[in-house]
């Protein structure tokens, strides 16, 4: 099958739009399981996008990283998070610091900001994925926003993983992906990080009886004694 660059650019932008939707849906999601499902969907769209870019650009190592994304971000990480939530028996609803409509408006602002930020790169780049770069950067920023506006440690971690999704997406759309060695390293890092988070969550919840990060402000000895 032979598809023109024009059509390929259309397909990648459509997948990019889907990634952006999942990002905003994650900002809006009020239940923690829903959040994990959305994270898995985002991973699926990323894997799809990587595969399409790999096919068009004829970079075969992108297929491997696409499969890696599929396995890691669509199945393994959501499963680990799922088990964590079940084991730690934490609250099922997401607590936010800023209310939802405001968060959404900030998210829109971030998309506009990343549009301006990537403008020079778009001018210089000749890759067919250059227009998705904005959305990739926006995904990073929305992940960061999610980390900032959430109270619960688990949702903050999902924000962190969404940020990592965005970075991976940025790499794919800016330079047709990083070398395979780097991608493998990052994938391994994320996996290890997920395990370490699990251990940390366990310790935090046994120490404070909660995963609310607000509790951690009371680390000082004198306040503990009060």
């Amino acid at each position: 099958m032979d598809i023109s660059l024009e059509t390929a650019a259309r397909i990648t932008s459509f997948i990019a739009a889907l990634v952006l939707i999942t990002s905003f849906a994650m900002l809006a999601q009020k239940r923690i399981y829903g959040l994990i499902h959305l994270f898995a969907w985002q991973g699926l769209f990323l894997a799809l996008n990587t595969a399409v870019v790999g096919y068009i650009a004829d970079k075969h190592h992108l297929f491997i990283s696409s499969l890696l994304t599929l396995g890691l971000k669509v199945f393994l990480l959501p499963y680990i998070l799922y088990v964590l939530i079940k084991r730690l028996n934490i609250r099922k609803d997401v607590e936010t610091i800023v209310n939802m409509p405001t968060t959404m408006l900030i998210g829109i602002g971030l998309v506009i900001f990343s549009y301006h930020l990537t403008a020079p790169v778009r001018e210089l780049s000749t890759l067919m994925t250059r227009s998705t770069l904005t959305i990739a950067l926006a995904t990073v920023m929305i992940g960061l926003l999610m980390m900032i506006t959430r109270r619960n440690a688990v949702t903050q971690i999902i924000g962190f993983l969404a940020m990592e999704n965005g970075l991976f997406f940025t790499a794919t759309s800016a330079t047709y992906g990083m070398p395979l060695v780097v991608e493998l390293g990052v994938a391994l890092d994320v996996l290890i990080a997920a395990f370490i988070f699990g251990i940390f969550f366990f310790h935090i919840s046994t120490t404070f009886d909660s995963l609310d990060v607000g509790q951690m402000a009371r680390l000082k000895e004198d306040e503990m004694n009060e």
């Binding site: 932008s13 459509f14 739009a17 952006l20 939707i21 998309v111 959305i135």
Partner: protein, 314 residues
Amino acid sequence: MNINPYIIEFLQVAVVIGLAPAFVGWIRMLKCWFQGRTTAGLFQPYRDLRKLFSKEIVLAHNASWIFRFTPYLLFGTAVLAGAIIPILSIDLPLAATADVIVLIALFAIARFFLALAGMDIGTAFGGMGSSREMMIASLAEPAMLMAIFTVSLANKSTSLAEIVQVINSGQMMLRPSLAFAFIAFILITLAETGRIPVDNPATHLELTMIHEAMILEYSGRHLALVEWASMMKLYLFVSLAIAVFTPWGIAVKGSLAGLPAAIGFMIAKLGIAGLIIVLIETGLAKMRIFRVPDFLGVAFLMATLGMLSFFILD
């Protein structure tokens, strides 16, 4: 062989007026089937209207001219909107008089007078319904305009006929901005026409009704006109969505041969649209009134993302 566009225009207005109750009847029938009830048939809304027309009007003593005038205004604006939206053909003489922004303003005029009429008698329900309706309107209208602007941007025109022409010629496949605008438009249609997650068209329960609360004081011919106008509003919103996002099959430039096909396509698409509405209504519960801003916030977000992705991706 060509046909005078004015005849198509008249035919289209007749279709809007005549088929709107049948569309509502179709939605009610589907809903009955989904809930395992026996249906009252496709033509029950016509019977309801005939019954209401034959009843006498009961007016409150303190009803002003606004209260008596509003039903005719609602019906009139709906008919006018039905003449502007390209439902059967692109080549409508009246379509040149108004673009899509005027169309939204027409709906706004109708809503304004309906809200006034709700408050006119001075009953508690009317005022409550009006205030709720205006709350929803104030949130739905910006989202609606945003969605329409996205479509206009992509087609470089605010004229409905032009938009339909461009999309019909197939240059617009797989545009993320249009997909976003379409999702936003579905959400807005549910809110504007008082369908389930926002308002329940079948309820007369005090705490939940919005549209019904405003028209509680109407009776007889007035009520028939108001009901008919709201059926037409639903029909028009669905037709607008079809015209702007999936216009395939519409008759171009006054060809007589295209007209039967256009009618067939229209009925098929309306049937599917009714199915989608019923699926949404059966799957969701009515939300609390204070959750509606969140719902419409999502619609606004989608429309804005559509506009942004037009600049970013297209």
